[in-house]
Symmetry: C2
Subunit: 323 residues, 2 copies
């Protein structure tokens, strides 16, 4: 009997959706799908969605005569990569805390299972298949409801001593500044996340006694700025300065080769990126600026599931080397 | 002929002094000495001091029937660890920029030569022989004329993509704050270095129309605070908040096991450390705080020369493993 070609299953768990995909042995996506994650339900419900997704992908692999080499998964929260289990809680999936990902999946499937924090796997995705391909020192920042960070050092995910590192959204840019949901003071997330931009805009409108639209989001702010709305233009100016200050500090601290900026806010476009870059250059030290690049993320909403696949591929490759 | 026991030479280059030592095969210091580095002179003068120091240590080794296994050196500036040469300039040694440490020393001596940034080797010293022995994720901060940083990740010095990383003194704690000598804005060095504390104190005295002593240094500030001087007490309060904010960000970013605080300002004592710790705890996230420690550096002025020896020992050990 011939040995079958290999395939990987990738899972991207979010508060609302579970995205999943089957990839070939080179990490190319063959099929992808999504279903509600039921993140507000009990662990068992979330796991049953995960099992459903794995079943679907395993059948798709069988139909293609492919053998599953490993399952990779990205999840919110701090994850012990060695044990593949959650450490503590995840605000958007209230019962998911301390979930034993590898152990529970391993009860039902014979495949090797790897899991890591969703921001970490998204960063890995951009390095392996996206905007940072070929780079070994990468900082990926996701601008959305929060500000997520993934750090790649010497081609590997940086996890910190207890899997709680790379919380880049919780670096303070003002020791005496805005309170942050994390309990800290002046975190960049409190200044440049989508909700922070909205708060900033609404505040400016109220201050100038301008009527506040019933629905304000970052798309509206960027559109209004385009149409010459002073308050919206100011919010974007300020956001670029906040982000420039944060990225300048990351530049001095990490000396990365490249920043990859993703998330909904980053979709505002290249001019927004240029302005963040200019604010960064104004503030960072000369030496680490010398070889630095800043680019937009390429993988968009697929980053999580692609990263989960890359995580599994990296683990399988590492196991082959040490064997 | 029997094979001789091995020894290491460590060199710690500063703007004023070149410190150097001979260590046994376990890194224990046998003898140490120092001489003017002539850091304000031409490269040749600085190198001739280095050669003098190596000659002295090599003779001491011979007298003890020891064989030099390697030379390690710490130097200001960004250093290409692979090539052991300076990248760019060093403010306190104006002609030292681009110095080819390994190449020049190698012309005169047959020993393997390793060099790295002085803050990096000082951090390594605390990990191998000082306050952070046994820890693998360490952040060493030196509070002095500047604020230096060394980062140890998974038991190795973190250097960044182009040997310009770990400039921890140049993380901003206020995007709209004090200008820093590096060209940045709000760097922690502009708030909590010794000169920054002195500036802060003198400013407060002038504001309250109190006579400014002819000689203000951090020792005076700590002594005056002890005696109830309100301005001095405020300066120390504020310095602890600045440092607490910076260390909280490093906690969230790096998830280290331990902070090691050294330098002249750290000699103020344990109460100062406790107050920095309290400010840190107030601001950092729960998860990375869980296993965190903060301690004073143990090696004091010897950190540079001990670190240089440890650097050489690590390199020799790594070479044996890969051979």
């Amino acid at each position: 009997m011939e040995s079958r070609n290999q395939a990987y299953i990738g899972l991207d768990l979010g508060g609302t959706f579970l995205k999943y995909a089957l990839a070939d042995e080179k990490g190319g996506i063959l099929i992808k799908s999504k279903r509600p994650s039921q993140g507000d339900q009990k662990k068992e419900a979330i796991f049953s969605n995960i099992f459903f997704a794995i079943d679907e992908m395993a059948q798709a692999a069988q139909a293609r005569q492919l053998e599953i080499a490993a399952i990779g998964m990205g999840s919110p929260g701090a994850i012990d990569y060695n044990q593949c289990r959650l450490l503590g809680n995840t605000p958007n999936l209230p019962d998911w805390g301390d979930a034993e990902i590898r152990k529970e999946i391993g009860k039902h499937y014979p495949f090797p299972i790897w899991a890591d924090n969703d921001a970490n796997v998204a960063a890995l995705a951009e390095v392996r298949q996206g905007a940072a391909r070929g780079y070994k020192y990468v900082i990926a920042i996701t601008l959305g409801t929060g500000i997520g960070g993934g750090v790649i050092i010497n081609d590997e995910i940086f996890r910190g001593s207890h899997f709680s590192g790379a919380e880049l959204g919780h670096m303070s840019i003002d020791y005496n500044g805005l309170p942050c949901g994390c309990g800290g003071v002046g975190c960049i997330e409190a200044y440049a996340s989508a909700p922070a931009m909205v708060r900033n805009y609404v505040g400016k409108l109220q201050k100038s006694r301008t009527m506040v639209p019933s629905m304000v989001n970052t798309e509206l702010i960027f559109a209004n700025a385009q149409n010459g709305d002073q308050a919206a233009m100011q919010v974007i100016d300020e956001t670029c300065e906040y982000l420039g200050a944060a990225l300048a500090s990351f530049t001095n601290i990490f000396n990365p080769e490249i920043f990859v900026i993703g998330g909904g806010v980053a979709d505002a476009g290249d001019e927004f990126m240029t302005r963040i870059w200019n604010a960064l250059v104004k503030r960072a030290m000369d030496a680490p600026l010398r070889n630095l690049k800043l680019v937009r993320a390429h993988l968009g909403n697929d980053a999580g599931v692609v990263g989960a696949i890359c995580l599994a591929m990296d683990a399988v490759r590492a196991a082959k080397i040490t064997r």
